[in-house]
Symmetry: C2
Subunit: 492 residues, 2 copies
């Protein structure tokens, strides 16, 4: 047995040297954010980074300074790119300067937010209460911060499933449930809904993908008929998932109608509001979400339109008692002593699958305190106005064509070249997007709208200016013309 | 529509002022860690913090400096306490100084690690490959970083469920599955296993809790008989969950025997190695885990014995193809263009429920590079030696009694007072633990061992010295004697 004098720790041997290195890293980090628009949006990771995945696990010590230097040279330049004003891919927020400090401070406290009685628990509760306030949820509702809407959908649909009154699904599972549980969402809903249904053991086939109308929102009459038919066929409808901002086009389902239908049919009403829900922070957009306050559960993200650093999402459940009943479990080693560190009621681990949980609430608390929801709401409006600007700019360009209505902040369009077959046109537009990314000039993404490849521009970016959209359009036109002048590119 | 000149962002108006505030925060953070042993382990959050949960959502802006000052005064002093050398509660790691920089840098890059082709993806792949190397997993295995073992258990058992050869459970669900799927674990297994089984729709009743032997490890013969009986009764056994370090006592199931049994019975072998798995970093402890390299899936945490900041866990799956088949989903908006940002194979979102994922790998990469696995392994050995020291110290104290064998780093004991009824003794020991926490002198937790309340000391703490254990024992004796001298405390 080693002598106490031989005991070691992993703390710095020289705190001053560590402090100097840490301050250098902080300077670099701030400079990275301050000058982000002077760099390419994205650049491909070099071969050396790709092959470093095969490096052996490090056995011996290295100085912190050396490790930091390796990070700075080989990792930092190859970020996803969403901090850049011309990142328009998928639905990524751009992050906040204050967020880097908040994450550092959360790491300093190193709290485990699974439960117990300590500061972080109250900050998470405060943030969840803010969300209840924002969405008009009642005081008896509950909430939990999670990595994002994929997890939030899983948790919300889990409550829906476990809350079927006539059964104890937690105990007895689905095999012994009398009838097949079926659920409904639109054909434009996010795939995380399908994945949640699969994980919960319900089977993807039990989720009915209801067609959408011309505005890409769910057709409520078709939905109503589907429920009736399923009941007639002996199925057990249990849940409708509405979308507040679909991933392809930003469409918002008629939430008020869906809620009324769910009340009439005694179904759980879950809303996937991944990015669109936070449009409630805007006075001019809020009315588009009418009905969201009637949801039984609501899933949304902070790392999208609230610009919080990755990752940060939330699930709210109207009836906190059902939420807790779906997941709560307090084994003997988590016994509440009534005082001391192991006290407090309604531990976060009773409301979802995770027992180990970082202090995710802090970065949200910091951002909402520093910026206030009014300013965040202004950014959301600004992005929607920028999308309208882009729509009009596209309408003026003979080589461009709008491919879907612009509901919020997502613009789907294509480069049009007369005489091209559909498959050639699809490939051309994919190539244009990849060209722009590789040039580092802008990063839109692609999707398919009614079967056709679209250049998809999503603006959930507080750094984007109208000038950036002009750079984007000019680059699309230039890439498109270069490719069509040269004939359709053969490489792939 | 607003004019481009009116466009705003959430970036600092004055980067220099922000930089000054951020550097102050960093100084405070480093000082917090450097002087952690000079403060109480834990102190109760004051009433003002508890009631701040009802504060209205902030509408207007506040300066970053003001928000930081509020954090420093009202939140920072009330951490969980696990950074302190005398935190012995539950199984929390103590965190690393370098981790606060790594988290700051991850927040700077703000990468979304759901997929695509950028630096963070390769660092996660590198970290996962290190884990495959550490546990002897084959090259075709797969892995994913997650919040912790609760999530990792859910994902691993999800693969086990979805891999049943004769069915397509992802598509058709459990209701239509021919027979009831049943699984097995020990009575000492972690409750996250139960919760995973519940979420997956299998029902807690389908998980057989097999009794343990005197060493708190699963009784393999009882398990074998249970499988046979279930088959006879028309059930479909599909999975055995072994524990590498149980939460109550640190017991390790006979993994090699369990693996052989699973091969013979054609069952999936999942290992919950939350904290114990990383004992593989120690040359002297590694042999205790023999068989772990044969697991079909392995769940473990970095934020426990590897001291990584919360949260950080991992799931490894021996057959990467089955892992991917259980979760992969690539809708049109995530189409791989073959080049540019949307390229790369085996996106992380294809291996679990999350599409939004922070750059969790960076803090692990930093820690393994800086400290090397040999030194982390020394800390693990040191903690186990400290547990042995504690055991011997307890044996020498007439008022103390060991309540379970010390397998690794967990010591369960009680303050013994002749003449007390069991219920009085239980209450006395709970009171002692709460006394110590409220005094701030040390933070053990409680659990029940064979029905009796135990003072549970878990040492997964690189800052703990033998001297801290003496402080703990002295404080337990002092609190116990004070309470028994005064008569059993009436308050609760």
């Amino acid at each position: 047995m080693r002598k106490p004098s031989d005991e070691i720790s992993l703390d710095p041997r020289d705190w001053d040297a560590f402090s100097r290195a840490a301050h250098t890293a902080l300077d670099d980090a701030i400079e990275f954010l301050r000058t982000v628009d002077q760099r390419p949006v994205w650049q491909p990771p070099p071969e050396s980074l790709r092959t470093s995945t095969n490096d052996a696990v490090p056995t011996l010590e290295t100085s912190f300074e050396e490790v930091y230097a390796e990070f700075k040279n080989t990792i930092l330049p190859y970020a996803t790119g969403n901090t850049h004003p011309r990142f328009f891919g998928w639905v990524h927020g751009a992050g906040l300067a204050g967020g880097i400090v908040a994450e550092m401070l959360a790491a300093t406290m190193n709290s485990n937010c699974g439960g117990r009685d300590h500061g972080a628990i109250y900050i998470e509760k405060e943030v969840v209460n803010w969300c209840k306030e924002l969405f008009g949820f009642p005081v008896e509702s509950s909430g939990l911060l999670v990595s994002g809407t994929s997890m939030a959908n899983l948790i919300g649909l889990g409550v829906a499933r476990n809350s079927r009154a006539e059964a104890n699904i937690r105990m007895h599972g689905l095999k012994n449930h009398a009838r097949t549980l079926v659920s409904y969402t639109s054909a434009e809903a996010h795939e995380s809904v399908v994945r949640a249904i699969e994980i919960l053991g319900l089977g993807a086939a039990s989720l009915r993908k209801i067609p959408v109308r011309a505005d890409f929102a769910i057709d409520v009459e078709v939905l109503r008929n589907a429920i009736t038919e399923d009941r007639r066929a002996g199925m057990e409808p249990f849940c409708v998932v509405g979308s507040a901002g679909t991933v392809n086009t930003g469409a918002i389902d008629p939430l008020d109608q869906l809620s009324s239908l769910c009340v009439a049919e005694n179904l759980w009403f879950h809303v996937d509001g991944a990015f669109g829900a936070l449009a409630c922070l805007s006075d001019s957009l809020r009315s588009r979400l009418t009905g969201i306050e009637r949801a039984d559960s609501l899933a949304f993200d902070f790392h999208k339109w609230a610009q919080i650093q990755y990752d940060a999402g939330c699930i709210l459940v109207r009836r906190g008692d059902l939420h807790r009943a779906a997941y709560s479990m307090r084994p003997s080693y988590l016994h509440n002593l009534g005082r001391g560190l192991a006290s407090g009621e309604n531990w976060p681990c009773e409301f979802g699958p995770e027992l180990s949980r970082s202090f995710r609430a802090l970065k949200i608390w910091f951002a909402f305190k520093e910026h206030g929801i009014r300013k965040i709401g202004h950014i959301i409006e600004q992005n929607c106005e920028q999308a309208q600007y882009l729509k009009h700019r596209i309408a003026r360009e003979p080589n461009l064509e709008l491919l879907a209505p612009v509901s919020l902040n997502i613009v789907c369009f294509g480069f049009r070249q007369p005489g091209l077959e559909a498959v050639e046109s699809d490939k051309l537009n994919e190539d244009i997007v990849a060209d722009l990314q590789e040039l580092g000039v802008a990063a839109p993404s692609t999707t398919r709208v009614e079967g056709r490849v679209a250049i998809r521009v999503n603006i959930t970016n507080h750094r984007t200016r109208t000038a950036d959209l002009n750079v984007l359009i000019d680059a699309v036109l230039s890439a498109g013309r270069a490719r069509t002048a040269a004939g359709i590119s053969p490489e792939r």
